[in-house]
Protein backbone atom coordinates (compact mmCIF):
# COMPACT_ATOMS: atom_id res chain seq x y z
CA UNK A 1 0.00 0.00 0.00
CA UNK A 2 1.56 3.21 -1.06
CA UNK A 3 -0.51 6.31 -0.97
CA UNK A 4 0.85 9.39 -2.62
CA UNK A 5 -1.25 12.46 -2.77
CA UNK A 6 -1.35 13.60 -6.37
CA UNK A 7 1.55 15.81 -7.27
CA UNK A 8 0.44 19.23 -8.33
CA UNK A 9 0.68 19.55 -12.05
CA UNK A 10 1.58 22.98 -13.21
CA UNK A 11 0.57 23.05 -16.84
CA UNK A 12 -1.39 25.91 -18.29
CA UNK A 13 -4.71 24.23 -17.73
CA UNK A 14 -4.34 23.61 -14.03
CA UNK A 15 -3.10 27.17 -13.61
CA UNK A 16 -6.13 28.60 -15.43
CA UNK A 17 -8.44 26.31 -13.51
CA UNK A 18 -7.23 27.38 -10.08
CA UNK A 19 -10.23 29.04 -8.42
CA UNK A 20 -8.35 32.28 -7.78
CA UNK A 21 -7.06 32.38 -11.35
CA UNK A 22 -10.51 31.57 -12.65
CA UNK A 23 -11.95 34.51 -10.76
CA UNK A 24 -9.50 36.91 -12.36
CA UNK A 25 -9.65 35.68 -15.96
CA UNK A 26 -13.40 35.13 -16.01
CA UNK A 27 -14.30 38.59 -14.78
CA UNK A 28 -13.66 40.48 -18.04
CA UNK A 29 -15.53 37.77 -19.97
CA UNK A 30 -18.92 38.26 -18.37
CA UNK A 31 -19.94 41.57 -19.91
CA UNK A 32 -18.88 40.82 -23.52
CA UNK A 33 -20.58 37.44 -23.37
CA UNK A 34 -23.76 38.98 -22.02
CA UNK A 35 -23.76 41.72 -24.66
CA UNK A 36 -23.03 39.28 -27.47
CA UNK A 37 -25.80 37.00 -26.27
CA UNK A 38 -28.29 39.88 -26.09
CA UNK A 39 -27.29 41.02 -29.56
CA UNK A 40 -27.77 37.56 -31.02
CA UNK A 41 -31.12 37.30 -29.27
CA UNK A 42 -32.21 40.56 -30.89
CA UNK A 43 -31.15 39.39 -34.34
CA UNK A 44 -32.52 35.91 -33.79
CA UNK A 45 -35.89 37.15 -32.57
CA UNK A 46 -36.22 39.59 -35.45
CA UNK A 47 -35.33 36.85 -37.92
CA UNK A 48 -37.63 34.31 -36.42
CA UNK A 49 -40.62 36.62 -36.24
CA UNK A 50 -40.36 38.77 -39.33
CA UNK A 51 -37.70 37.51 -41.66
CA UNK A 52 -38.36 33.82 -41.92
CA UNK A 53 -40.98 32.11 -44.05
CA UNK A 54 -43.61 29.68 -42.86
CA UNK A 55 -42.72 26.06 -43.12
CA UNK A 56 -44.62 24.26 -45.88
CA UNK A 57 -45.57 21.54 -43.40
CA UNK A 58 -45.68 23.19 -40.02
CA UNK A 59 -46.89 26.59 -41.10
CA UNK A 60 -46.20 29.37 -38.66
CA UNK A 61 -45.65 26.86 -35.84
CA UNK A 62 -42.08 26.68 -37.10
CA UNK A 63 -41.52 29.82 -35.02
CA UNK A 64 -41.91 27.81 -31.81
CA UNK A 65 -39.06 25.65 -33.01
CA UNK A 66 -36.69 28.62 -32.71
CA UNK A 67 -37.09 28.57 -28.93
CA UNK A 68 -37.78 24.86 -28.52
CA UNK A 69 -34.74 23.39 -30.22
CA UNK A 70 -32.14 25.63 -28.48
CA UNK A 71 -33.59 24.74 -25.08
CA UNK A 72 -33.69 21.04 -25.94
CA UNK A 73 -30.09 21.29 -27.11
CA UNK A 74 -29.06 23.07 -23.90
CA UNK A 75 -30.86 20.54 -21.71
CA UNK A 76 -28.42 17.93 -22.99
CA UNK A 77 -25.39 20.18 -23.42
CA UNK A 78 -25.58 21.34 -19.80
CA UNK A 79 -25.74 17.75 -18.66
CA UNK A 80 -22.66 17.11 -20.77
CA UNK A 81 -20.92 19.96 -18.96
CA UNK A 82 -21.94 18.43 -15.65
CA UNK A 83 -20.72 14.98 -16.68
CA UNK A 84 -17.31 16.39 -17.69
CA UNK A 85 -17.17 18.29 -14.38
CA UNK A 86 -18.02 15.06 -12.59
CA UNK A 87 -15.06 13.39 -14.26
CA UNK A 88 -12.91 16.34 -13.21
CA UNK A 89 -14.09 15.92 -9.64
CA UNK A 90 -13.59 12.17 -9.46
CA UNK A 91 -10.44 11.74 -11.50
CA UNK A 92 -8.47 14.95 -10.97
CA UNK A 93 -10.21 16.08 -7.78
CA UNK A 94 -10.29 19.58 -9.10
CA UNK A 95 -12.09 22.10 -6.88
CA UNK A 96 -13.21 24.14 -9.89
CA UNK A 97 -14.88 21.05 -11.34
CA UNK A 98 -17.08 20.79 -8.22
CA UNK A 99 -18.06 24.41 -8.62
CA UNK A 100 -18.77 24.03 -12.34
CA UNK A 101 -20.97 21.01 -11.75
CA UNK A 102 -22.90 22.62 -8.94
CA UNK A 103 -23.47 25.89 -10.81
CA UNK A 104 -24.68 24.11 -13.94
CA UNK A 105 -27.41 21.99 -12.33
CA UNK A 106 -30.09 24.65 -11.73
CA UNK A 107 -29.42 26.20 -15.15
CA UNK A 108 -29.82 22.82 -16.80
CA UNK A 109 -33.05 22.23 -14.92
CA UNK A 110 -34.51 25.51 -16.16
CA UNK A 111 -33.55 24.89 -19.79
CA UNK A 112 -34.96 21.37 -19.61
CA UNK A 113 -38.21 22.69 -18.14
CA UNK A 114 -38.37 25.22 -20.98
CA UNK A 115 -37.73 22.51 -23.56
CA UNK A 116 -40.67 20.56 -22.16
CA UNK A 117 -42.87 23.66 -21.97
CA UNK A 118 -42.23 24.81 -25.52
CA UNK A 119 -42.49 21.21 -26.68
CA UNK A 120 -45.93 20.94 -25.13
CA UNK A 121 -47.06 24.19 -26.80
CA UNK A 122 -45.69 23.00 -30.10
CA UNK A 123 -47.33 19.61 -29.71
CA UNK A 124 -50.85 20.87 -29.08
CA UNK A 125 -51.56 22.34 -32.54
CA UNK A 126 -49.41 19.91 -34.55
CA UNK A 127 -50.20 16.62 -32.81
CA UNK A 128 -53.35 17.65 -30.99
CA UNK A 129 -51.99 17.01 -27.52
CA UNK A 130 -49.89 18.84 -24.96
CA UNK A 131 -48.30 15.68 -23.72
CA UNK A 132 -47.68 12.32 -25.26
CA UNK A 133 -45.74 9.47 -23.66
CA UNK A 134 -43.35 9.13 -26.52
CA UNK A 135 -39.70 8.28 -26.15
CA UNK A 136 -38.11 11.67 -26.41
CA UNK A 137 -40.60 13.57 -24.28
CA UNK A 138 -40.51 10.92 -21.60
CA UNK A 139 -36.74 10.77 -21.52
CA UNK A 140 -36.53 14.57 -21.38
CA UNK A 141 -38.92 14.51 -18.42
CA UNK A 142 -36.67 11.90 -16.83
CA UNK A 143 -33.73 14.22 -17.48
CA UNK A 144 -35.56 17.00 -15.64
CA UNK A 145 -36.15 14.63 -12.71
CA UNK A 146 -32.46 13.74 -12.68
CA UNK A 147 -31.54 17.44 -12.61
CA UNK A 148 -33.92 18.01 -9.70
CA UNK A 149 -32.57 14.96 -7.86
CA UNK A 150 -29.02 16.21 -8.28
CA UNK A 151 -29.97 19.67 -6.99
CA UNK A 152 -31.68 18.04 -4.00
CA UNK A 153 -28.58 15.93 -3.33
CA UNK A 154 -26.33 19.00 -3.40
CA UNK A 155 -28.55 20.67 -0.87
CA UNK A 156 -28.73 17.62 1.40
CA UNK A 157 -25.01 17.67 2.20
CA UNK A 158 -23.42 20.05 4.66
CA UNK A 159 -19.92 19.13 3.60
CA UNK A 160 -19.65 20.39 0.03
CA UNK A 161 -16.38 18.59 -0.63
CA UNK A 162 -17.91 15.21 0.07
CA UNK A 163 -21.10 16.24 -1.71
CA UNK A 164 -19.10 17.05 -4.83
CA UNK A 165 -17.73 13.56 -5.21
CA UNK A 166 -20.98 11.79 -4.39
CA UNK A 167 -22.98 14.01 -6.73
CA UNK A 168 -20.35 13.33 -9.37
CA UNK A 169 -21.00 9.60 -9.12
CA UNK A 170 -24.73 10.16 -9.47
CA UNK A 171 -24.17 12.55 -12.39
CA UNK A 172 -22.11 10.00 -14.28
CA UNK A 173 -24.63 7.23 -13.65
CA UNK A 174 -27.43 9.56 -14.77
CA UNK A 175 -25.51 10.27 -17.96
CA UNK A 176 -26.84 6.97 -19.31
CA UNK A 177 -30.00 8.89 -19.97
CA UNK A 178 -28.41 11.20 -22.56
CA UNK A 179 -27.86 8.55 -25.24
CA UNK A 180 -31.30 7.21 -24.41
CA UNK A 181 -32.76 10.61 -25.30
CA UNK A 182 -30.63 10.82 -28.42
CA UNK A 183 -31.69 7.46 -29.75
CA UNK A 184 -35.17 7.29 -28.30
CA UNK A 185 -36.52 8.90 -31.47
CA UNK A 186 -35.18 6.00 -33.51
CA UNK A 187 -35.93 3.21 -31.06
CA UNK A 188 -39.34 4.23 -30.05
CA UNK A 189 -40.60 6.20 -32.97
CA UNK A 190 -43.99 7.58 -32.17
CA UNK A 191 -44.70 11.25 -32.56
CA UNK A 192 -41.52 13.24 -32.21
CA UNK A 193 -39.75 13.86 -35.45
CA UNK A 194 -36.29 12.38 -35.96
CA UNK A 195 -33.12 14.48 -36.05
CA UNK A 196 -33.13 17.06 -38.80
CA UNK A 197 -30.05 19.20 -38.23
CA UNK A 198 -27.23 16.83 -37.43
CA UNK A 199 -27.83 14.05 -39.90
CA UNK A 200 -25.41 12.12 -42.05
CA UNK A 201 -26.62 13.92 -45.16
CA UNK A 202 -26.43 17.38 -43.67
CA UNK A 203 -29.26 19.60 -42.48
CA UNK A 204 -32.67 18.76 -43.85
CA UNK A 205 -34.12 22.23 -43.80
CA UNK A 206 -33.89 25.34 -45.94
CA UNK A 207 -31.36 28.00 -45.07
CA UNK A 208 -34.08 30.54 -44.35
CA UNK A 209 -35.20 28.43 -41.39
CA UNK A 210 -31.79 27.11 -40.43
CA UNK A 211 -30.27 30.59 -40.04
CA UNK A 212 -32.58 31.93 -37.34
CA UNK A 213 -32.49 28.55 -35.60
CA UNK A 214 -28.70 28.53 -35.42
CA UNK A 215 -28.56 32.14 -34.29
CA UNK A 216 -31.06 31.45 -31.55
CA UNK A 217 -29.18 28.30 -30.53
CA UNK A 218 -25.91 30.24 -30.29
CA UNK A 219 -27.63 33.02 -28.38
CA UNK A 220 -29.05 30.56 -25.85
CA UNK A 221 -25.70 28.80 -25.52
CA UNK A 222 -23.93 32.11 -24.88
CA UNK A 223 -26.62 32.96 -22.35
CA UNK A 224 -25.90 29.68 -20.59
CA UNK A 225 -22.15 30.34 -20.63
CA UNK A 226 -22.66 33.81 -19.16
CA UNK A 227 -24.94 32.56 -16.43
CA UNK A 228 -22.68 29.61 -15.76
CA UNK A 229 -19.61 31.77 -15.30
CA UNK A 230 -21.48 34.16 -13.02
CA UNK A 231 -22.92 31.28 -10.99
CA UNK A 232 -19.49 29.69 -10.68
CA UNK A 233 -18.04 32.96 -9.43
CA UNK A 234 -20.91 33.28 -6.99
CA UNK A 235 -20.34 29.73 -5.77
CA UNK A 236 -16.63 30.38 -5.18
CA UNK A 237 -17.48 33.57 -3.28
CA UNK A 238 -20.12 31.69 -1.32
CA UNK A 239 -17.60 29.09 -0.23
CA UNK A 240 -15.16 31.81 0.79
CA UNK A 241 -17.86 33.58 2.75
CA UNK A 242 -18.74 30.33 4.50
CA UNK A 243 -15.11 29.70 5.39
CA UNK A 244 -14.85 33.23 6.74
CA UNK A 245 -17.97 33.05 8.84
CA UNK A 246 -16.87 29.71 10.29
CA UNK A 247 -13.52 31.26 11.08
CA UNK A 248 -15.29 34.21 12.65
CA UNK A 249 -17.36 31.82 14.78
CA UNK A 250 -14.23 29.96 15.87
CA UNK A 251 -12.32 33.09 16.83
CA UNK A 252 -15.39 34.39 18.66
CA UNK A 253 -15.36 31.18 20.66
CA UNK A 254 -11.68 31.58 21.44
CA UNK A 255 -12.08 35.11 22.76
Amino acid sequence: MTLDAAAKKSNWFSRLAHPGQFLSWSRPLVLPLAVLSALLFAIGLWLSFFASPEDYQMGDMVRVMYVHVPNAWLSQFVYGVMAVSALGTLVWRHPLADVAGKAAAPLGAVFTALALYTGALWGRPTWGTFWEWDGRMTSTLVLLLIYLGIIALWRAFDDQLRAARIVAIVTLVGAINIPVIKFSVDWWNTLHQPASIFTAKGPRMPLSILTPLLIMAIAFTLLFLTLHIVSMRTEIFRRRAETLSRQAALSAEAN
Partner: protein, 217 residues
Protein backbone atom coordinates in the same frame (compact mmCIF):
# COMPACT_ATOMS: atom_id res chain seq x y z
CA UNK B 1 -15.52 -16.51 -1.91
CA UNK B 2 -15.93 -17.59 1.69
CA UNK B 3 -16.25 -13.96 2.74
CA UNK B 4 -18.81 -13.39 -0.02
CA UNK B 5 -21.08 -16.22 1.08
CA UNK B 6 -20.50 -15.47 4.77
CA UNK B 7 -21.80 -11.93 4.23
CA UNK B 8 -24.90 -13.13 2.39
CA UNK B 9 -25.52 -15.74 5.09
CA UNK B 10 -25.11 -13.16 7.82
CA UNK B 11 -27.54 -10.70 6.26
CA UNK B 12 -30.11 -13.45 5.75
CA UNK B 13 -29.67 -14.74 9.28
CA UNK B 14 -29.94 -11.27 10.79
CA UNK B 15 -33.08 -10.55 8.86
CA UNK B 16 -34.67 -13.85 9.83
CA UNK B 17 -33.72 -13.40 13.46
CA UNK B 18 -35.03 -9.87 13.69
CA UNK B 19 -37.96 -11.30 11.84
CA UNK B 20 -40.95 -9.70 10.28
CA UNK B 21 -39.05 -7.46 7.87
CA UNK B 22 -39.68 -9.59 4.83
CA UNK B 23 -43.19 -10.18 6.08
CA UNK B 24 -43.87 -6.46 6.47
CA UNK B 25 -42.66 -5.87 2.96
CA UNK B 26 -44.90 -8.60 1.56
CA UNK B 27 -47.77 -7.16 3.55
CA UNK B 28 -47.14 -3.72 2.04
CA UNK B 29 -46.95 -5.28 -1.42
CA UNK B 30 -50.26 -7.09 -0.99
CA UNK B 31 -51.89 -4.07 0.59
CA UNK B 32 -51.32 -2.04 -2.54
CA UNK B 33 -53.26 -4.76 -4.32
CA UNK B 34 -56.05 -4.33 -1.77
CA UNK B 35 -56.09 -0.55 -2.03
CA UNK B 36 -56.20 -0.29 -5.81
CA UNK B 37 -59.70 -1.80 -6.30
CA UNK B 38 -60.98 0.76 -3.81
CA UNK B 39 -59.29 3.54 -5.74
CA UNK B 40 -60.31 2.60 -9.29
CA UNK B 41 -63.43 0.59 -8.63
CA UNK B 42 -63.93 -3.18 -8.48
CA UNK B 43 -64.59 -3.69 -12.19
CA UNK B 44 -62.89 -7.02 -12.91
CA UNK B 45 -62.11 -6.35 -16.53
CA UNK B 46 -60.48 -3.03 -15.78
CA UNK B 47 -58.55 -4.51 -12.85
CA UNK B 48 -57.24 -7.34 -14.97
CA UNK B 49 -56.09 -4.88 -17.61
CA UNK B 50 -54.24 -2.72 -15.09
CA UNK B 51 -52.97 -5.59 -12.95
CA UNK B 52 -49.46 -6.06 -14.43
CA UNK B 53 -48.72 -2.36 -14.07
CA UNK B 54 -50.07 -2.32 -10.52
CA UNK B 55 -47.92 -5.30 -9.58
CA UNK B 56 -44.85 -3.55 -10.97
CA UNK B 57 -45.63 -0.34 -9.12
CA UNK B 58 -46.23 -2.30 -5.92
CA UNK B 59 -42.90 -4.10 -6.35
CA UNK B 60 -41.14 -0.81 -7.07
CA UNK B 61 -42.57 0.91 -3.99
CA UNK B 62 -41.80 -2.06 -1.76
CA UNK B 63 -38.24 -1.99 -3.02
CA UNK B 64 -37.92 1.70 -2.15
CA UNK B 65 -39.33 1.02 1.30
CA UNK B 66 -36.59 -1.39 2.29
CA UNK B 67 -33.78 0.57 0.73
CA UNK B 68 -32.55 2.55 3.70
CA UNK B 69 -31.62 -0.57 5.64
CA UNK B 70 -29.22 -1.80 3.00
CA UNK B 71 -26.11 -0.01 4.31
CA UNK B 72 -27.43 2.07 7.20
CA UNK B 73 -27.16 -0.60 9.93
CA UNK B 74 -23.65 -1.62 8.92
CA UNK B 75 -22.64 2.02 8.80
CA UNK B 76 -24.05 2.74 12.25
CA UNK B 77 -22.26 -0.07 14.07
CA UNK B 78 -18.95 0.39 12.26
CA UNK B 79 -19.06 -2.78 10.18
CA UNK B 80 -18.97 -0.80 6.95
CA UNK B 81 -15.65 0.73 7.96
CA UNK B 82 -14.15 -2.69 8.59
CA UNK B 83 -15.44 -4.10 5.32
CA UNK B 84 -12.75 -2.05 3.61
CA UNK B 85 -10.17 -4.33 5.15
CA UNK B 86 -11.94 -7.59 4.41
CA UNK B 87 -10.43 -10.36 2.38
CA UNK B 88 -12.52 -9.32 -0.63
CA UNK B 89 -12.75 -5.86 -2.22
CA UNK B 90 -15.51 -3.45 -1.27
CA UNK B 91 -17.12 -3.92 -4.70
CA UNK B 92 -17.62 -7.61 -3.99
CA UNK B 93 -19.03 -6.76 -0.58
CA UNK B 94 -21.56 -4.41 -2.14
CA UNK B 95 -22.47 -7.14 -4.63
CA UNK B 96 -22.94 -9.66 -1.81
CA UNK B 97 -25.11 -7.27 0.16
CA UNK B 98 -27.13 -6.49 -2.98
CA UNK B 99 -27.73 -10.19 -3.58
CA UNK B 100 -28.80 -10.66 0.03
CA UNK B 101 -31.08 -7.65 -0.29
CA UNK B 102 -32.64 -9.09 -3.43
CA UNK B 103 -33.25 -12.39 -1.66
CA UNK B 104 -34.83 -10.56 1.26
CA UNK B 105 -36.92 -7.97 -0.54
CA UNK B 106 -37.61 -9.16 -4.09
CA UNK B 107 -37.93 -12.90 -3.71
CA UNK B 108 -40.72 -12.75 -1.08
CA UNK B 109 -42.65 -10.47 -3.43
CA UNK B 110 -42.33 -13.01 -6.25
CA UNK B 111 -43.67 -15.63 -3.90
CA UNK B 112 -46.57 -13.36 -2.97
CA UNK B 113 -47.64 -12.54 -6.53
CA UNK B 114 -50.31 -15.28 -6.64
CA UNK B 115 -52.21 -13.48 -3.86
CA UNK B 116 -52.07 -10.26 -5.80
CA UNK B 117 -53.06 -12.08 -8.98
CA UNK B 118 -56.26 -13.30 -7.33
CA UNK B 119 -57.03 -9.89 -5.82
CA UNK B 120 -56.56 -8.17 -9.17
CA UNK B 121 -58.42 -10.77 -11.23
CA UNK B 122 -55.41 -11.77 -13.32
CA UNK B 123 -55.59 -14.91 -15.41
CA UNK B 124 -52.87 -17.53 -15.24
CA UNK B 125 -51.14 -16.38 -18.41
CA UNK B 126 -50.67 -12.77 -17.33
CA UNK B 127 -49.71 -13.81 -13.79
CA UNK B 128 -47.00 -16.03 -15.16
CA UNK B 129 -45.74 -13.27 -17.45
CA UNK B 130 -45.77 -10.73 -14.64
CA UNK B 131 -43.82 -12.97 -12.30
CA UNK B 132 -41.27 -13.77 -14.98
CA UNK B 133 -40.78 -10.11 -15.87
CA UNK B 134 -40.39 -9.27 -12.15
CA UNK B 135 -37.81 -12.02 -11.85
CA UNK B 136 -35.83 -10.48 -14.71
CA UNK B 137 -36.35 -6.84 -13.75
CA UNK B 138 -35.99 -6.71 -9.97
CA UNK B 139 -32.21 -7.28 -10.01
CA UNK B 140 -31.86 -3.98 -11.85
CA UNK B 141 -34.19 -2.24 -9.39
CA UNK B 142 -32.23 -3.58 -6.42
CA UNK B 143 -28.90 -2.68 -8.03
CA UNK B 144 -30.04 0.91 -8.64
CA UNK B 145 -31.39 0.87 -5.10
CA UNK B 146 -28.00 -0.17 -3.76
CA UNK B 147 -26.49 2.78 -5.57
CA UNK B 148 -29.04 5.15 -4.08
CA UNK B 149 -28.51 3.72 -0.61
CA UNK B 150 -24.72 4.01 -0.92
CA UNK B 151 -24.90 7.58 -2.15
CA UNK B 152 -27.07 8.67 0.77
CA UNK B 153 -25.50 6.57 3.52
CA UNK B 154 -23.81 9.55 5.14
CA UNK B 155 -26.99 11.62 5.14
CA UNK B 156 -29.31 11.50 8.11
CA UNK B 157 -32.29 12.31 5.93
CA UNK B 158 -31.03 9.97 3.24
CA UNK B 159 -34.11 7.79 3.44
CA UNK B 160 -36.08 10.45 1.66
CA UNK B 161 -33.66 11.48 -1.04
CA UNK B 162 -32.53 8.05 -2.27
CA UNK B 163 -35.90 7.24 -3.93
CA UNK B 164 -35.94 10.64 -5.64
CA UNK B 165 -32.51 9.95 -7.09
CA UNK B 166 -33.05 6.44 -8.36
CA UNK B 167 -36.61 6.83 -9.53
CA UNK B 168 -35.69 8.38 -12.89
CA UNK B 169 -33.02 5.73 -13.39
CA UNK B 170 -35.57 2.99 -12.85
CA UNK B 171 -37.93 4.30 -15.54
CA UNK B 172 -36.50 2.11 -18.35
CA UNK B 173 -36.81 -0.96 -16.11
CA UNK B 174 -40.48 -0.20 -15.57
CA UNK B 175 -41.05 0.51 -19.27
CA UNK B 176 -39.61 -2.78 -20.41
CA UNK B 177 -40.92 -4.64 -17.38
CA UNK B 178 -44.50 -3.73 -18.17
CA UNK B 179 -43.80 -4.02 -21.91
CA UNK B 180 -42.76 -7.61 -21.36
CA UNK B 181 -46.15 -8.44 -19.90
CA UNK B 182 -48.57 -6.97 -22.40
CA UNK B 183 -48.92 -9.75 -24.94
CA UNK B 184 -47.87 -9.79 -28.56
CA UNK B 185 -44.23 -8.82 -29.01
CA UNK B 186 -42.99 -9.36 -25.47
CA UNK B 187 -39.86 -11.22 -26.56
CA UNK B 188 -37.66 -8.19 -27.31
CA UNK B 189 -38.87 -6.44 -24.14
CA UNK B 190 -37.88 -9.46 -22.06
CA UNK B 191 -34.47 -9.51 -23.67
CA UNK B 192 -34.07 -5.78 -23.05
CA UNK B 193 -35.13 -6.28 -19.44
CA UNK B 194 -32.62 -9.07 -18.94
CA UNK B 195 -29.91 -6.97 -20.57
CA UNK B 196 -30.66 -3.96 -18.36
CA UNK B 197 -30.58 -6.14 -15.25
CA UNK B 198 -27.32 -7.70 -16.29
CA UNK B 199 -25.60 -4.42 -17.11
CA UNK B 200 -26.91 -2.52 -14.10
CA UNK B 201 -26.11 -5.21 -11.58
CA UNK B 202 -22.62 -5.47 -13.02
CA UNK B 203 -21.69 -1.81 -12.85
CA UNK B 204 -23.76 -0.65 -9.86
CA UNK B 205 -21.52 -2.36 -7.26
CA UNK B 206 -18.56 -0.39 -8.57
CA UNK B 207 -20.36 2.94 -8.43
CA UNK B 208 -21.86 2.11 -5.03
CA UNK B 209 -18.49 1.03 -3.60
CA UNK B 210 -16.99 4.28 -4.87
CA UNK B 211 -19.76 6.22 -3.15
CA UNK B 212 -19.19 4.31 0.09
CA UNK B 213 -15.46 5.08 -0.03
CA UNK B 214 -16.19 8.76 -0.56
CA UNK B 215 -18.77 8.75 2.22
CA UNK B 216 -16.25 7.40 4.71
CA UNK B 217 -13.55 9.89 3.75
Amino acid sequence: MRAFTALIARDLRLSLRIGGEALTLVLFFVMIGVIVPFAIGPDKGQLARLAPGIVWIAAFLSMLLGLDRLFRNDDDDGSLLLFRHAAIPLEAIVAAKTIAHWLLTALPLLVATPVLAILLAMDFESWWRTTFSLLLGTPALVAFGALGAAVTVSLRRGGLIAPVLILPLCVPVLIFGVGAISGGSSGPALLFLAAISLVVSTFAPFAAALALRVAGD
